[in-house]
């Protein structure tokens, strides 16, 4: 299944890209993060993150569909 991933802040720097389309056998954001964490050596653990699918907050066990867009959200620091 193809999934679009966008990266921000620390994750963007560690992945060294802002966006990519991955082809994965996993179907939840939680499993996909585990896969990407090991690939890019992300410093943030999954319990430090939130996840958005198609610009809405969702759970890490949300069932993804082909070409959904995922954003893993590091702790925010606006203001």
């Amino acid at each position: 299944m193809k999934i679009n991933i966008k990266y921000f802040a620390a994750l963007r720097e560690q992945a060294n890209k802002s966006e990519e389309i991955i082809d994965t056998t996993y179907s939840t954001p939680g499993d996909i993060y585990t896969e990407l964490k090991s690939k890019y050596n992300f410093s943030l653990n999954v319990d430090e993150l939130k996840v958005a699918v198609n610009d809405c907050y969702e759970d890490f066990d949300y069932e993804l569909k082909e070409m959904d867009t995922i954003v893993f959200i590091p702790p925010v620091a606006g203001g």
Binding site: K6, A9, A52, D55, V71, P74, V76, A77, G78, G79
Partner: protein
Amino acid sequence: MFEISSSSIEEYKSKSFVTPECGGVVTFEGRVRNHNEGQTVESLEYEAYSGLALKEGEKILEQVREKFDILDAFCVHRVGHLQIGDLAVWIIATSKHRREAFRACEFIIDEVKKTVPIWKKEHYADKSIDSKWVFCTEEHHH
């Protein structure tokens, strides 16, 4: 309305939100300060996940209208590379009675810091310290 801007937001300060029934106007400016947790800060980079940030921002402004008896509320957040003294966020709340405008304005900045997907990276004067993406702990930045 909630906005995100990649250029200076100083000009928003001169926009008028006043209506005839408005008695009190409270504004909050969050600015880049030259220190944080003992370090001399040289500049800040703000990055936003705009698609979600605008939705979360609007949600905060809806909440504030439900919770407080205000006439209007507006927030704009800057993104990009900011220098010391630059305006990072500007909020205005207008009301008939001043208390509601104070409560509303403070609620907005508190919630923006908690729920809107915006991040900041601090660059330090001491170049032996790596720039880092900071988390928003209470009273972290302003």
